[in-house]
Subunit: 303 residues, 2 copies
Amino acid sequence: MTVDWIAVDWGTSNVRAWGVDAAGRVLFTRSANEGMGRLTKDEYPRVLDALLSPDVSANIAPLDVLICGMAGAKQGWLEAPYLDVPADLRQLASHSVVPPTSSLTSVRILPGLCQRQTGAEDVMRGEETQLLGLAALMPGFSGPVCMPGTHCKWVELNAHRVERFVTAMTGELFDVLSRHTVLRHSLGNERDGADHAEGLDAGLAAGIAEPQKLTALLFKVRSGSLLSGWKPSWCAGFLSGLLIGADIGGQREWIGKAEIPIVGDPGLSQLYARGLRMVGALGRIVDVNQVVLMGLRRAREAQ
Amino acid sequence: MTVDWIAVDWGTSNVRAWGVDAAGRVLFTRSANEGMGRLTKDEYPRVLDALLSPDVSANIAPLDVLICGMAGAKQGWLEAPYLDVPADLRQLASHSVVPPTSSLTSVRILPGLCQRQTGAEDVMRGEETQLLGLAALMPGFSGPVCMPGTHCKWVELNAHRVERFVTAMTGELFDVLSRHTVLRHSLGNERDGADHAEGLDAGLAAGIAEPQKLTALLFKVRSGSLLSGWKPSWCAGFLSGLLIGADIGGQREWIGKAEIPIVGDPGLSQLYARGLRMVGALGRIVDVNQVVLMGLRRAREAQ
Protein backbone atom coordinates (compact mmCIF):
# COMPACT_ATOMS: atom_id res chain seq x y z
CA MET A 1 0.00 0.00 0.00
CA THR A 2 1.63 3.18 -1.19
CA VAL A 3 0.56 6.72 -0.46
CA ASP A 4 -0.45 8.36 -3.73
CA TRP A 5 -1.28 11.86 -2.43
CA ILE A 6 -2.04 13.80 0.72
CA ALA A 7 -5.32 15.61 1.39
CA VAL A 8 -5.05 18.47 3.90
CA ASP A 9 -7.62 20.64 5.66
CA TRP A 10 -5.61 23.51 7.16
CA GLY A 11 -7.81 25.64 9.38
CA THR A 12 -7.24 28.55 11.76
CA SER A 13 -6.71 26.34 14.81
CA ASN A 14 -5.88 22.89 13.46
CA VAL A 15 -4.43 21.03 10.52
CA ARG A 16 -5.61 17.56 9.46
CA ALA A 17 -4.00 15.37 6.78
CA TRP A 18 -5.09 12.14 5.11
CA GLY A 19 -2.75 9.81 3.24
CA VAL A 20 -4.64 8.44 0.23
CA ASP A 21 -3.59 5.55 -2.05
CA ALA A 22 -4.11 5.27 -5.80
CA ALA A 23 -7.42 3.48 -5.25
CA GLY A 24 -8.70 6.37 -3.12
CA ARG A 25 -8.38 4.54 0.22
CA VAL A 26 -7.28 6.46 3.34
CA LEU A 27 -4.09 4.86 4.65
CA PHE A 28 -3.55 7.20 7.59
CA THR A 29 -4.89 10.35 9.22
CA ARG A 30 -2.76 12.87 11.08
CA SER A 31 -3.67 16.08 12.84
CA ALA A 32 -2.02 18.80 14.91
CA ASN A 33 -3.01 22.07 16.52
CA GLU A 34 -0.64 24.04 14.32
CA GLY A 35 -3.33 26.03 12.55
CA MET A 36 -2.88 29.18 10.49
CA GLY A 37 -3.40 31.30 13.61
CA ARG A 38 -0.06 30.35 15.11
CA LEU A 39 2.17 30.00 12.05
CA THR A 40 4.31 32.40 10.06
CA LYS A 41 4.57 31.88 6.29
CA ASP A 42 7.94 30.17 6.38
CA GLU A 43 6.94 27.65 9.07
CA TYR A 44 4.45 25.77 6.88
CA PRO A 45 6.93 23.48 5.01
CA ARG A 46 8.49 22.30 8.28
CA VAL A 47 5.09 21.73 9.94
CA LEU A 48 3.81 19.78 6.93
CA ASP A 49 6.94 17.60 6.73
CA ALA A 50 6.79 16.90 10.47
CA LEU A 51 3.12 16.01 10.24
CA LEU A 52 3.76 13.50 7.47
CA SER A 53 7.15 12.15 8.59
CA PRO A 54 5.86 9.20 10.67
CA ASP A 55 4.02 7.83 7.64
CA VAL A 56 5.83 9.08 4.59
CA SER A 57 9.50 8.52 3.81
CA ALA A 58 11.45 10.29 1.12
CA ASN A 59 10.19 9.29 -2.34
CA ILE A 60 11.93 9.54 -5.64
CA ALA A 61 9.37 12.14 -6.72
CA PRO A 62 7.95 14.75 -4.32
CA LEU A 63 4.59 13.75 -2.84
CA ASP A 64 1.44 15.48 -4.10
CA VAL A 65 -0.33 17.50 -1.41
CA LEU A 66 -3.65 19.30 -1.91
CA ILE A 67 -4.70 21.77 0.77
CA CYS A 68 -7.92 23.62 1.49
CA GLY A 69 -8.70 26.20 4.16
CA MET A 70 -6.92 29.05 5.88
CA ALA A 71 -3.46 28.11 4.61
CA GLY A 72 -4.63 29.98 1.49
CA ALA A 73 -5.55 33.17 3.36
CA LYS A 74 -3.54 36.37 2.98
CA GLN A 75 -2.06 35.77 6.44
CA GLY A 76 -1.54 32.02 5.69
CA TRP A 77 1.11 30.14 3.71
CA LEU A 78 0.40 31.68 0.31
CA GLU A 79 -2.68 33.62 -0.66
CA ALA A 80 -5.01 31.76 -3.03
CA PRO A 81 -7.24 34.60 -4.29
CA TYR A 82 -10.96 34.08 -3.77
CA LEU A 83 -13.29 32.85 -6.51
CA ASP A 84 -16.31 35.14 -6.83
CA VAL A 85 -19.82 33.76 -6.32
CA PRO A 86 -21.86 32.64 -8.12
CA ALA A 87 -19.07 30.06 -8.45
CA ASP A 88 -18.77 26.62 -10.02
CA LEU A 89 -16.96 24.54 -7.41
CA ARG A 90 -15.38 22.39 -10.13
CA GLN A 91 -13.24 25.47 -10.88
CA LEU A 92 -11.53 25.41 -7.47
CA ALA A 93 -8.59 23.27 -8.63
CA SER A 94 -7.75 25.43 -11.61
CA HIS A 95 -7.43 28.41 -9.28
CA SER A 96 -5.07 26.75 -6.83
CA VAL A 97 -1.69 28.29 -5.98
CA VAL A 98 1.70 26.62 -5.49
CA PRO A 99 3.68 27.68 -2.39
CA PRO A 100 7.41 27.09 -1.90
CA THR A 101 8.07 23.72 -0.22
CA SER A 102 10.78 21.33 0.82
CA SER A 103 11.92 18.70 -1.67
CA LEU A 104 9.63 16.11 -0.04
CA THR A 105 6.34 17.57 -1.21
CA SER A 106 4.68 19.31 -4.11
CA VAL A 107 1.86 21.42 -2.74
CA ARG A 108 -1.18 23.21 -4.12
CA ILE A 109 -3.63 25.29 -2.09
CA LEU A 110 -7.27 25.71 -3.13
CA PRO A 111 -8.96 29.13 -3.06
CA GLY A 112 -11.90 30.22 -0.95
CA LEU A 113 -15.02 32.00 -2.16
CA CYS A 114 -16.07 35.59 -1.81
CA GLN A 115 -19.21 37.56 -2.45
CA ARG A 116 -18.51 41.17 -3.38
CA GLN A 117 -21.99 42.64 -3.74
CA THR A 118 -22.32 45.78 -1.61
CA GLY A 119 -24.22 44.97 1.57
CA ALA A 120 -23.73 41.24 1.08
CA GLU A 121 -19.93 41.12 1.36
CA ASP A 122 -18.84 37.73 2.62
CA VAL A 123 -15.94 35.27 2.56
CA MET A 124 -15.28 31.58 3.17
CA ARG A 125 -12.18 29.39 3.22
CA GLY A 126 -12.51 25.65 3.69
CA GLU A 127 -16.28 25.35 3.45
CA GLU A 128 -16.14 25.64 -0.39
CA THR A 129 -14.21 22.34 -0.48
CA GLN A 130 -16.75 20.73 1.88
CA LEU A 131 -19.47 21.92 -0.49
CA LEU A 132 -17.71 20.37 -3.48
CA GLY A 133 -17.66 17.10 -1.49
CA LEU A 134 -21.29 17.49 -0.51
CA ALA A 135 -22.26 18.01 -4.15
CA ALA A 136 -20.56 14.68 -4.91
CA LEU A 137 -22.24 12.85 -2.00
CA MET A 138 -25.70 14.30 -2.79
CA PRO A 139 -25.67 14.55 -6.59
CA GLY A 140 -28.05 17.13 -7.97
CA PHE A 141 -28.89 18.57 -4.53
CA SER A 142 -30.23 22.08 -4.76
CA GLY A 143 -31.16 24.20 -1.75
CA PRO A 144 -29.78 25.74 1.43
CA VAL A 145 -26.89 24.14 3.32
CA CYS A 146 -26.27 24.91 7.01
CA MET A 147 -22.60 24.87 8.08
CA PRO A 148 -22.36 25.41 11.88
CA GLY A 149 -19.16 26.46 13.60
CA THR A 150 -17.42 29.43 15.18
CA HIS A 151 -18.86 31.22 12.18
CA CYS A 152 -21.96 29.54 10.77
CA LYS A 153 -22.34 29.65 6.98
CA TRP A 154 -25.70 29.44 5.23
CA VAL A 155 -25.15 28.57 1.59
CA GLU A 156 -27.44 28.29 -1.41
CA LEU A 157 -26.04 25.34 -3.34
CA ASN A 158 -27.28 24.39 -6.81
CA ALA A 159 -25.52 21.15 -7.80
CA HIS A 160 -21.86 22.28 -8.13
CA ARG A 161 -22.71 25.92 -8.03
CA VAL A 162 -22.65 28.22 -4.98
CA GLU A 163 -25.26 30.90 -5.69
CA ARG A 164 -24.83 32.97 -2.53
CA PHE A 165 -23.96 32.61 1.14
CA VAL A 166 -24.01 34.43 4.44
CA THR A 167 -21.91 34.09 7.60
CA ALA A 168 -23.37 34.39 11.10
CA MET A 169 -21.08 34.83 14.12
CA THR A 170 -23.18 32.44 16.23
CA GLY A 171 -20.43 30.26 17.71
CA GLU A 172 -18.08 33.13 18.46
CA LEU A 173 -20.93 35.08 20.05
CA PHE A 174 -21.62 32.19 22.42
CA ASP A 175 -17.95 32.06 23.30
CA VAL A 176 -17.51 35.76 24.15
CA LEU A 177 -20.90 36.13 25.83
CA SER A 178 -20.25 33.16 28.10
CA ARG A 179 -16.70 34.22 28.98
CA HIS A 180 -16.59 38.01 28.97
CA THR A 181 -20.04 39.42 29.85
CA VAL A 182 -22.31 39.65 32.89
CA LEU A 183 -24.00 36.46 31.61
CA ARG A 184 -20.99 34.43 32.71
CA HIS A 185 -22.24 34.59 36.32
CA SER A 186 -25.37 32.68 35.31
CA LEU A 187 -23.77 29.88 33.29
CA GLY A 188 -22.43 26.48 34.24
CA ASN A 189 -20.11 24.17 32.37
CA GLU A 190 -22.40 21.15 32.45
CA ARG A 191 -23.77 20.46 28.98
CA ASP A 192 -25.35 17.01 29.15
CA GLY A 193 -28.10 17.18 31.78
CA ALA A 194 -31.87 17.39 31.38
CA ASP A 195 -31.67 21.03 32.52
CA HIS A 196 -29.41 21.88 29.61
CA ALA A 197 -31.75 20.29 27.06
CA GLU A 198 -34.75 22.11 28.56
CA GLY A 199 -32.94 25.44 28.49
CA LEU A 200 -31.81 24.75 24.93
CA ASP A 201 -35.36 24.15 23.74
CA ALA A 202 -36.65 27.27 25.50
CA GLY A 203 -33.84 29.32 23.97
CA LEU A 204 -34.38 27.89 20.47
CA ALA A 205 -38.11 28.67 20.68
CA ALA A 206 -37.49 32.24 21.90
CA GLY A 207 -34.76 32.96 19.34
CA ILE A 208 -36.80 31.54 16.46
CA ALA A 209 -39.92 33.46 17.50
CA GLU A 210 -38.21 36.85 17.94
CA PRO A 211 -34.79 36.95 16.29
CA GLN A 212 -35.17 40.73 15.95
CA LYS A 213 -35.02 41.01 19.76
CA LEU A 214 -31.74 39.15 20.24
CA THR A 215 -29.95 42.00 22.07
CA ALA A 216 -32.77 41.99 24.63
CA LEU A 217 -33.36 38.22 24.78
CA LEU A 218 -29.73 37.71 25.77
CA PHE A 219 -30.24 39.62 29.01
CA LYS A 220 -32.97 37.12 29.96
CA VAL A 221 -30.17 34.69 30.81
CA ARG A 222 -29.17 37.03 33.64
CA SER A 223 -32.60 38.21 34.78
CA GLY A 224 -34.07 34.69 34.57
CA SER A 225 -31.34 33.30 36.77
CA LEU A 226 -31.84 36.16 39.27
CA LEU A 227 -35.64 36.08 39.36
CA SER A 228 -36.76 32.62 38.30
CA GLY A 229 -33.96 30.51 39.74
CA TRP A 230 -32.81 29.13 36.40
CA LYS A 231 -29.95 26.68 36.99
CA PRO A 232 -26.52 27.31 35.41
CA SER A 233 -26.84 24.32 33.06
CA TRP A 234 -30.34 25.50 32.02
CA CYS A 235 -28.94 28.98 31.34
CA ALA A 236 -26.06 27.60 29.25
CA GLY A 237 -28.56 25.64 27.16
CA PHE A 238 -30.81 28.69 26.89
CA LEU A 239 -27.97 30.91 25.66
CA SER A 240 -26.96 28.31 23.02
CA GLY A 241 -30.57 27.99 21.99
CA LEU A 242 -31.16 31.75 21.78
CA LEU A 243 -28.20 32.30 19.47
CA ILE A 244 -28.91 29.30 17.23
CA GLY A 245 -32.62 30.08 17.26
CA ALA A 246 -31.99 33.71 16.27
CA ASP A 247 -29.65 32.50 13.53
CA ILE A 248 -32.33 30.14 12.16
CA GLY A 249 -35.08 32.71 12.71
CA GLY A 250 -33.10 35.34 10.80
CA GLN A 251 -32.64 33.05 7.79
CA ARG A 252 -36.25 31.92 7.49
CA GLU A 253 -36.71 33.20 3.94
CA TRP A 254 -34.61 30.41 2.49
CA ILE A 255 -35.51 27.64 4.95
CA GLY A 256 -38.38 25.63 3.48
CA LYS A 257 -39.73 22.21 4.36
CA ALA A 258 -37.12 20.31 2.32
CA GLU A 259 -34.14 18.48 3.73
CA ILE A 260 -31.26 20.77 4.72
CA PRO A 261 -27.76 19.27 4.85
CA ILE A 262 -25.92 20.27 8.03
CA VAL A 263 -22.14 20.18 7.64
CA GLY A 264 -19.92 21.37 10.46
CA ASP A 265 -18.98 20.99 14.10
CA PRO A 266 -20.69 17.71 15.19
CA GLY A 267 -22.00 19.03 18.53
CA LEU A 268 -23.36 22.23 17.02
CA SER A 269 -24.87 20.26 14.13
CA GLN A 270 -27.11 18.39 16.58
CA LEU A 271 -28.33 21.70 18.03
CA TYR A 272 -29.04 23.17 14.60
CA ALA A 273 -30.95 20.01 13.60
CA ARG A 274 -33.09 20.44 16.72
CA GLY A 275 -33.77 24.09 15.86
CA LEU A 276 -34.55 23.34 12.23
CA ARG A 277 -37.13 20.74 13.33
CA MET A 278 -38.89 23.53 15.25
CA VAL A 279 -39.47 25.45 12.01
CA GLY A 280 -40.63 22.32 10.17
CA ALA A 281 -37.40 21.69 8.27
CA LEU A 282 -35.50 18.43 8.26
CA GLY A 283 -31.80 18.79 8.98
CA ARG A 284 -29.59 16.01 7.65
CA ILE A 285 -26.29 15.86 9.50
CA VAL A 286 -23.40 15.03 7.18
CA ASP A 287 -19.96 14.05 8.46
CA VAL A 288 -17.70 17.04 7.94
CA ASN A 289 -14.49 15.02 7.58
CA GLN A 290 -16.12 12.83 4.96
CA VAL A 291 -17.19 15.80 2.84
CA VAL A 292 -13.91 17.69 3.09
CA LEU A 293 -11.96 14.61 2.04
CA MET A 294 -14.41 13.98 -0.80
CA GLY A 295 -14.10 17.61 -1.83
CA LEU A 296 -10.29 17.43 -1.92
CA ARG A 297 -10.55 14.20 -3.99
CA ARG A 298 -12.88 15.81 -6.49
CA ALA A 299 -10.72 18.91 -6.72
CA ARG A 300 -7.69 16.72 -7.41
CA GLU A 301 -9.54 14.78 -10.11
CA ALA A 302 -10.65 18.04 -11.74
CA GLN A 303 -7.10 19.29 -12.27
CA MET B 1 -24.68 77.51 53.36
CA THR B 2 -25.18 74.26 55.19
CA VAL B 3 -25.47 70.81 53.71
CA ASP B 4 -28.92 69.47 54.47
CA TRP B 5 -28.60 66.02 52.92
CA ILE B 6 -26.51 63.97 50.49
CA ALA B 7 -27.84 62.45 47.26
CA VAL B 8 -25.85 59.44 46.02
CA ASP B 9 -25.92 57.44 42.79
CA TRP B 10 -23.88 54.31 43.53
CA GLY B 11 -23.37 52.26 40.39
CA THR B 12 -21.36 49.20 39.47
CA SER B 13 -18.27 51.17 38.42
CA ASN B 14 -18.63 54.58 40.02
CA VAL B 15 -20.18 56.47 42.91
CA ARG B 16 -21.34 60.09 42.66
CA ALA B 17 -22.55 62.26 45.55
CA TRP B 18 -24.22 65.66 45.68
CA GLY B 19 -24.37 67.84 48.79
CA VAL B 20 -27.76 69.58 48.84
CA ASP B 21 -28.84 72.47 51.08
CA ALA B 22 -32.27 73.02 52.63
CA ALA B 23 -33.35 75.10 49.62
CA GLY B 24 -32.49 72.23 47.26
CA ARG B 25 -29.32 73.80 45.88
CA VAL B 26 -26.31 71.61 45.08
CA LEU B 27 -23.36 72.82 47.18
CA PHE B 28 -20.82 70.27 45.96
CA THR B 29 -20.45 67.18 43.80
CA ARG B 30 -18.01 64.37 44.49
CA SER B 31 -17.31 61.16 42.62
CA ALA B 32 -14.98 58.18 42.78
CA ASN B 33 -14.46 54.95 40.91
CA GLU B 34 -15.28 52.88 43.98
CA GLY B 35 -18.39 51.26 42.51
CA MET B 36 -20.22 48.20 43.79
CA GLY B 37 -18.08 45.97 41.61
CA ARG B 38 -14.96 46.49 43.68
CA LEU B 39 -16.35 46.80 47.21
CA THR B 40 -17.19 44.32 49.95
CA LYS B 41 -20.19 45.05 52.18
CA ASP B 42 -18.18 46.41 55.08
CA GLU B 43 -16.17 48.84 52.97
CA TYR B 44 -19.13 51.09 52.11
CA PRO B 45 -19.20 53.23 55.31
CA ARG B 46 -15.50 54.05 54.98
CA VAL B 47 -15.81 54.86 51.26
CA LEU B 48 -18.81 57.11 51.87
CA ASP B 49 -17.15 58.96 54.74
CA ALA B 50 -13.98 59.47 52.69
CA LEU B 51 -16.01 60.73 49.73
CA LEU B 52 -17.77 63.30 51.90
CA SER B 53 -14.93 64.28 54.25
CA PRO B 54 -13.55 67.23 52.21
CA ASP B 55 -16.93 68.94 52.32
CA VAL B 56 -18.70 67.70 55.42
CA SER B 57 -17.40 67.94 58.95
CA ALA B 58 -18.86 66.13 61.94
CA ASN B 59 -22.34 67.44 62.71
CA ILE B 60 -24.28 67.23 65.92
CA ALA B 61 -26.78 64.96 64.17
CA PRO B 62 -25.70 62.36 61.59
CA LEU B 63 -26.09 63.58 58.01
CA ASP B 64 -28.98 62.22 55.90
CA VAL B 65 -27.80 60.24 52.88
CA LEU B 66 -30.14 58.81 50.23
CA ILE B 67 -28.65 56.31 47.77
CA CYS B 68 -29.91 54.72 44.56
CA GLY B 69 -28.31 52.10 42.37
CA MET B 70 -26.23 48.99 42.81
CA ALA B 71 -25.41 49.67 46.47
CA GLY B 72 -28.85 48.09 47.02
CA ALA B 73 -28.05 44.92 45.09
CA LYS B 74 -27.66 41.56 46.81
CA GLN B 75 -23.90 41.82 46.27
CA GLY B 76 -23.89 45.53 47.31
CA TRP B 77 -23.99 47.24 50.71
CA LEU B 78 -27.41 45.98 51.82
CA GLU B 79 -30.02 44.42 49.60
CA ALA B 80 -33.06 46.63 48.96
CA PRO B 81 -35.59 44.10 47.61
CA TYR B 82 -37.03 44.96 44.20
CA LEU B 83 -40.44 46.55 43.72
CA ASP B 84 -42.50 44.61 41.19
CA VAL B 85 -43.75 46.28 38.02
CA PRO B 86 -46.22 47.69 37.30
CA ALA B 87 -44.79 50.01 39.97
CA ASP B 88 -45.63 53.48 41.26
CA LEU B 89 -42.26 55.24 41.55
CA ARG B 90 -43.56 57.37 44.43
CA GLN B 91 -43.38 54.16 46.47
CA LEU B 92 -39.59 53.85 46.13
CA ALA B 93 -38.82 55.76 49.33
CA SER B 94 -41.12 53.69 51.52
CA HIS B 95 -39.29 50.55 50.39
CA SER B 96 -35.80 51.82 51.20
CA VAL B 97 -33.49 49.92 53.54
CA VAL B 98 -31.14 51.20 56.25
CA PRO B 99 -27.60 49.80 56.24
CA PRO B 100 -25.16 49.97 59.17
CA THR B 101 -23.08 53.16 59.04
CA SER B 102 -20.54 55.20 60.92
CA SER B 103 -21.79 57.87 63.34
CA LEU B 104 -21.34 60.57 60.66
CA THR B 105 -24.19 59.51 58.44
CA SER B 106 -27.68 58.10 58.47
CA VAL B 107 -28.20 56.21 55.22
CA ARG B 108 -31.12 54.81 53.27
CA ILE B 109 -30.89 52.86 50.01
CA LEU B 110 -33.70 52.88 47.44
CA PRO B 111 -34.87 49.63 45.81
CA GLY B 112 -34.72 48.71 42.12
CA LEU B 113 -37.55 47.33 40.01
CA CYS B 114 -38.16 43.85 38.75
CA GLN B 115 -40.52 42.24 36.29
CA ARG B 116 -41.32 38.64 37.17
CA GLN B 117 -43.58 37.54 34.31
CA THR B 118 -42.26 34.32 32.76
CA GLY B 119 -40.48 35.12 29.52
CA ALA B 120 -40.26 38.82 30.41
CA GLU B 121 -38.04 38.55 33.49
CA ASP B 122 -36.05 41.73 33.95
CA VAL B 123 -34.37 43.89 36.57
CA MET B 124 -33.12 47.47 37.01
CA ARG B 125 -31.25 49.34 39.76
CA GLY B 126 -30.66 53.06 39.43
CA GLU B 127 -32.79 53.73 36.35
CA GLU B 128 -35.98 53.68 38.48
CA THR B 129 -34.74 56.76 40.34
CA GLN B 130 -33.88 58.48 37.04
CA LEU B 131 -37.43 57.70 35.91
CA LEU B 132 -38.89 59.25 39.07
CA GLY B 133 -36.85 62.36 38.26
CA LEU B 134 -37.95 62.28 34.62
CA ALA B 135 -41.60 62.07 35.68
CA ALA B 136 -41.02 65.25 37.71
CA LEU B 137 -39.24 67.05 34.86
CA MET B 138 -41.85 66.01 32.25
CA PRO B 139 -45.08 65.99 34.26
CA GLY B 140 -47.74 63.70 32.81
CA PHE B 141 -45.40 62.18 30.22
CA SER B 142 -46.65 58.83 29.01
CA GLY B 143 -44.78 56.64 26.52
CA PRO B 144 -41.52 54.81 25.95
CA VAL B 145 -38.26 55.99 27.49
CA CYS B 146 -34.91 54.96 26.03
CA MET B 147 -32.09 54.57 28.58
CA PRO B 148 -28.79 53.81 26.76
CA GLY B 149 -25.79 52.33 28.54
CA THR B 150 -23.83 49.14 29.01
CA HIS B 151 -27.31 47.66 29.26
CA CYS B 152 -29.94 49.72 27.46
CA LYS B 153 -33.37 49.86 29.13
CA TRP B 154 -36.58 50.52 27.20
CA VAL B 155 -39.28 51.54 29.63
CA GLU B 156 -42.98 52.19 29.29
CA LEU B 157 -43.59 55.10 31.65
CA ASN B 158 -47.08 56.36 32.45
CA ALA B 159 -46.71 59.48 34.65
CA HIS B 160 -45.19 58.01 37.87
CA ARG B 161 -45.92 54.44 36.89
CA VAL B 162 -43.52 52.00 35.21
CA GLU B 163 -45.75 49.64 33.24
CA ARG B 164 -43.05 47.36 31.81
CA PHE B 165 -39.46 47.42 30.65
CA VAL B 166 -36.87 45.43 28.78
CA THR B 167 -33.07 45.38 28.92
CA ALA B 168 -30.88 45.02 25.82
CA MET B 169 -27.18 44.20 26.15
CA THR B 170 -26.23 46.65 23.40
CA GLY B 171 -23.34 48.46 25.08
CA GLU B 172 -21.77 45.33 26.52
CA LEU B 173 -22.09 43.58 23.14
CA PHE B 174 -20.13 46.39 21.49
CA ASP B 175 -17.48 46.09 24.15
CA VAL B 176 -16.91 42.33 23.86
CA LEU B 177 -17.28 42.22 20.07
CA SER B 178 -14.70 44.97 19.60
CA ARG B 179 -12.24 43.53 22.09
CA HIS B 180 -12.57 39.74 21.97
CA THR B 181 -13.75 38.63 18.50
CA VAL B 182 -12.39 38.47 14.96
CA LEU B 183 -14.03 41.87 14.38
CA ARG B 184 -11.31 43.53 16.47
CA HIS B 185 -8.92 43.28 13.49
CA SER B 186 -11.22 45.56 11.47
CA LEU B 187 -11.79 48.29 14.06
CA GLY B 188 -9.93 51.46 14.90
CA ASN B 189 -10.06 53.64 17.95
CA GLU B 190 -10.87 56.86 16.13
CA ARG B 191 -14.47 57.87 16.83
CA ASP B 192 -14.79 61.43 15.62
CA GLY B 193 -14.04 61.43 11.90
CA ALA B 194 -16.34 61.62 8.90
CA ASP B 195 -15.66 57.91 8.27
CA HIS B 196 -17.05 57.01 11.68
CA ALA B 197 -20.26 58.98 11.12
CA GLU B 198 -20.73 57.38 7.68
CA GLY B 199 -20.19 53.89 9.07
CA LEU B 200 -22.55 54.66 11.94
CA ASP B 201 -25.35 55.68 9.58
CA ALA B 202 -24.82 52.61 7.38
CA GLY B 203 -24.89 50.37 10.47
CA LEU B 204 -27.98 52.06 11.91
CA ALA B 205 -29.81 51.64 8.60
CA ALA B 206 -28.82 47.96 8.29
CA GLY B 207 -29.66 47.11 11.91
CA ILE B 208 -33.01 48.91 11.77
CA ALA B 209 -33.93 47.24 8.47
CA GLU B 210 -33.04 43.69 9.50
CA PRO B 211 -32.65 43.34 13.26
CA GLN B 212 -33.52 39.64 12.89
CA LYS B 213 -30.26 39.13 11.00
CA LEU B 214 -27.95 40.62 13.64
CA THR B 215 -25.76 37.50 14.04
CA ALA B 216 -25.05 37.66 10.29
CA LEU B 217 -24.86 41.46 9.94
CA LEU B 218 -22.08 41.55 12.53
CA PHE B 219 -19.79 39.53 10.28
CA LYS B 220 -20.14 42.22 7.60
CA VAL B 221 -17.72 44.30 9.67
CA ARG B 222 -15.05 41.73 8.89
CA SER B 223 -15.97 40.83 5.32
CA GLY B 224 -16.56 44.47 4.38
CA SER B 225 -13.12 45.46 5.62
CA LEU B 226 -11.57 42.53 3.73
CA LEU B 227 -13.46 43.00 0.45
CA SER B 228 -14.58 46.60 0.26
CA GLY B 229 -11.70 48.32 2.00
CA TRP B 230 -13.79 49.80 4.81
CA LYS B 231 -11.55 51.88 7.06
CA PRO B 232 -11.16 51.01 10.77
CA SER B 233 -13.02 54.12 11.91
CA TRP B 234 -15.85 53.37 9.42
CA CYS B 235 -16.05 49.82 10.77
CA ALA B 236 -16.19 51.01 14.39
CA GLY B 237 -19.07 53.32 13.47
CA PHE B 238 -20.77 50.55 11.52
CA LEU B 239 -20.56 48.12 14.47
CA SER B 240 -22.02 50.74 16.87
CA GLY B 241 -24.73 51.49 14.35
CA LEU B 242 -25.60 47.83 13.75
CA LEU B 243 -26.07 47.11 17.45
CA ILE B 244 -28.03 50.29 18.20
CA GLY B 245 -30.02 49.88 14.98
CA ALA B 246 -30.89 46.27 15.83
CA ASP B 247 -31.89 47.39 19.32
CA ILE B 248 -34.20 50.08 17.90
CA GLY B 249 -35.43 47.75 15.14
CA GLY B 250 -36.30 45.05 17.67
CA GLN B 251 -38.36 47.48 19.77
CA ARG B 252 -40.37 49.00 16.92
CA GLU B 253 -43.75 47.96 18.32
CA TRP B 254 -43.62 50.60 21.03
CA ILE B 255 -41.72 53.30 19.12
CA GLY B 256 -44.26 55.65 17.56
CA LYS B 257 -43.87 59.14 16.13
CA ALA B 258 -44.04 60.88 19.52
CA GLU B 259 -41.10 62.33 21.43
CA ILE B 260 -39.01 59.71 23.23
CA PRO B 261 -36.93 60.85 26.21
CA ILE B 262 -33.37 59.49 26.05
CA VAL B 263 -31.74 59.22 29.47
CA GLY B 264 -28.31 57.66 29.83
CA ASP B 265 -24.71 57.74 28.73
CA PRO B 266 -24.33 61.09 26.88
CA GLY B 267 -22.30 59.71 23.95
CA LEU B 268 -24.63 56.76 23.41
CA SER B 269 -27.65 59.05 23.76
CA GLN B 270 -26.54 60.98 20.65
CA LEU B 271 -26.28 57.73 18.68
CA TYR B 272 -29.72 56.54 19.80
CA ALA B 273 -31.21 59.93 18.87
CA ARG B 274 -29.74 59.54 15.39
CA GLY B 275 -31.18 56.03 15.07
CA LEU B 276 -34.60 57.07 16.35
CA ARG B 277 -34.73 59.83 13.74
CA MET B 278 -34.30 57.14 11.07
CA VAL B 279 -37.56 55.47 12.17
CA GLY B 280 -39.38 58.80 12.32
CA ALA B 281 -39.28 59.21 16.09
CA LEU B 282 -37.97 62.26 17.89
CA GLY B 283 -35.48 61.49 20.64
CA ARG B 284 -35.17 64.11 23.37
CA ILE B 285 -31.87 63.82 25.21
CA VAL B 286 -32.27 64.49 28.93
CA ASP B 287 -29.29 65.06 31.24
CA VAL B 288 -28.88 61.89 33.26
CA ASN B 289 -27.31 63.61 36.28
CA GLN B 290 -30.15 66.09 36.40
CA VAL B 291 -32.80 63.36 36.44
CA VAL B 292 -31.09 61.14 38.97
CA LEU B 293 -30.64 64.08 41.36
CA MET B 294 -34.26 65.10 40.80
CA GLY B 295 -35.35 61.52 41.43
CA LEU B 296 -33.44 61.33 44.70
CA ARG B 297 -35.00 64.69 45.74
CA ARG B 298 -38.49 63.46 44.98
CA ALA B 299 -37.89 60.18 46.78
CA ARG B 300 -36.66 62.10 49.83
CA GLU B 301 -39.72 64.36 49.79
CA ALA B 302 -42.02 61.34 49.56
CA GLN B 303 -40.70 59.77 52.73
